[in-house]
Chain length 415, copies 2
Amino acid sequence: MRQSQLFTRTRREAPTDEVSKNAQLLIRAGYVHKEMAGVYDYLPLGHRTIQKIIQIIREEMNAIGGQELFLTALQDASAWQKSGRWDDEVIDVWFKTKLKNDSEVGLATTHEEALTNLMRDQIKSYKDLPFSTYQFQTKFRNELRAKSGIMRGREFVMKDLYSFSKDKAEHDAFYEVAAEAYKKIFARLGIGDKTYFTYASGGSFSKYSHEFQTVCEAGEDIIYLDEAKGIAINEEVYNDPEVFTTSGLTKETLTQAKAAEVGNIFTLGEKFSQALDLTYMDTEGKPQHVFMGSYGIGPGRVMGTIVELLSDEKGIVWPEAVAPFRFHLVSLAGNDEVLREYADTLYADLTQAGKETLYDDRDLRAGEKFADSDLMGMPWRIVIGKNTVATGEIELVNRATGTVEKVTREALLDL
Amino acid sequence: MRQSQLFTRTRREAPTDEVSKNAQLLIRAGYVHKEMAGVYDYLPLGHRTIQKIIQIIREEMNAIGGQELFLTALQDASAWQKSGRWDDEVIDVWFKTKLKNDSEVGLATTHEEALTNLMRDQIKSYKDLPFSTYQFQTKFRNELRAKSGIMRGREFVMKDLYSFSKDKAEHDAFYEVAAEAYKKIFARLGIGDKTYFTYASGGSFSKYSHEFQTVCEAGEDIIYLDEAKGIAINEEVYNDPEVFTTSGLTKETLTQAKAAEVGNIFTLGEKFSQALDLTYMDTEGKPQHVFMGSYGIGPGRVMGTIVELLSDEKGIVWPEAVAPFRFHLVSLAGNDEVLREYADTLYADLTQAGKETLYDDRDLRAGEKFADSDLMGMPWRIVIGKNTVATGEIELVNRATGTVEKVTREALLDL
């Protein structure tokens, strides 16, 4: 894309009321716009970035057989009354509103109730199980405070997958598969080495749930991690001796760290299938409750964590897999028509070769262009300057390391 | 996808409270689930279908330079108070709710205010114009009644594009381009021949707006159409003599018809840029108000219209471009292992060749499978039965026409 056509612009300062580093940088670089605390619009660059994250998650959810769907935000009270979660004291982040007939409806904070309820039409027999289904859908949570930028929103897109199994054994097998898929996802997203499989508090059907915690100063959690094993324990269960037996960790090898919860997997068991009476007929024709699990990732939380973790004093540093564009082609052609044509042709060739490129074709000083490029954070900067045509050498700068190489046009198109 | 793994099932009867044909069929075929009146979940088949529609629209919006973004549903009152549309008597379909600090927020019914407001940070100079930006985003509208299935929702995804131009001339040029893009979209969606470019009431900056109206008994509008020209006049402006001069139509060639509004394009002019003070500096350094337009399509409305228009007594009939799967491979193998293996291999080969196929590998009677297949509406049914292996001939049924052909395996893989 030509930067002269991109409608967003960079800015020197973030809004004064924005305290989180991720939102400060994302606003300054033109990725997001703040509507109100915890409520952010995704502008074209931000939309491209979060869609990259979403696509990686989608591919891994499809790979384990997840069937994608899309549930509604508006929720009727009835299913939630059955599970006991309609009450504002049970879920204290409800947004509620009213239909014209004065009946109250809520904006989904999560979708266990809705999905369990609709499965009553779909699941009849043991032959229908197991399966899993997921969505990328907007959740609304009326947080009292929202000061973590896009890492904790009042409105945010979440990937939530739900599994439906005949019994705990079948569930456990899928749970393992889902945990492995999550590890793949965070590795592909470029934060695998900082992300720990973390024991956290569970529920009535499983003593522990598991979180994926990324070590990060902006995180809201405290974990105790074993770096060599890639496993951690959340502070909330750290004082329970049993967690050491279960996890195989020992206190001596653990380090305390602040971390952001980028994903979680949870054994729900029969909690919702009992409350909402979701059963299947077993091989003997007897009704049994479906055994469920839920598996969440917040793509915005991941995006914010990446910014917090990898940015430097100059701006954002995107991993290749999630950058809105892989290359930032910065032309210093000015009034030099030959150089401009060279840059135009290179941009066309890169695009033709499927290399996603943001082309800074604007009429600005080199210093401003480089500062913008550093702030926006594409992994590779290609600089077309005075000597490029004469020498046939193109300057290639790695955003993360700052390394500068001289490469030929051919090498660049092969990169 | 193997149908034995798809978690949805077909049902003989729609819920008794569902009066619209589109929702009745879509619920029976397992495409959607009704949460409440006007609020529908998209199950895997429905999600695939609406995503096909969305992707076609996206491609055509990108082709005219539209930059995709994603705005929030939660809306602060301030921008809407400036435009005068916060009041429930001005917009009578607001859903409103409250933050913890008791301040009122609304759920966006549309996004002119939010977008005009955020552009104040982005648009500075005449050099920044023109451009357009769009999204696929959930709108909430508190409709008093919602009896048209997915054609009129209280919560629905909408594609809304907004254009920003220096003046009316620049705007008019883009408006023409957008109108042509819309014609392409409806042609690609398979309803081009039934969709009319329709003159409707405008606003202060343009006497008429334009709707794209698809002739359809379930539609809520009355239009007067010229079949040869593909142009129509909405009843609401039919008694204005000027509309005939502007449209070039004459009463004598027009036929009255019921129609569904599947898209609209609208000259907003300076209505919002004046209210929210969105200006740019012109070449002489003087501030000027930005000239705007808005361009909507409801993908769910389109999906519902297609069902209303093309279905028959047996069920849904999808056009190839929007069907969740192009082929429905129906295996009548029963206990015949050779036949089952033949069908399995054909399914693998079709998938390998990139032909999207739903494979009915379930252990059911032929009659049930055919009834399901008719109800679900994939464009081509492939039947693998007793004689297939012996004769090498595969039965191929066209869902729309009912035509049955015998084709070879090779011909099928080339289709």
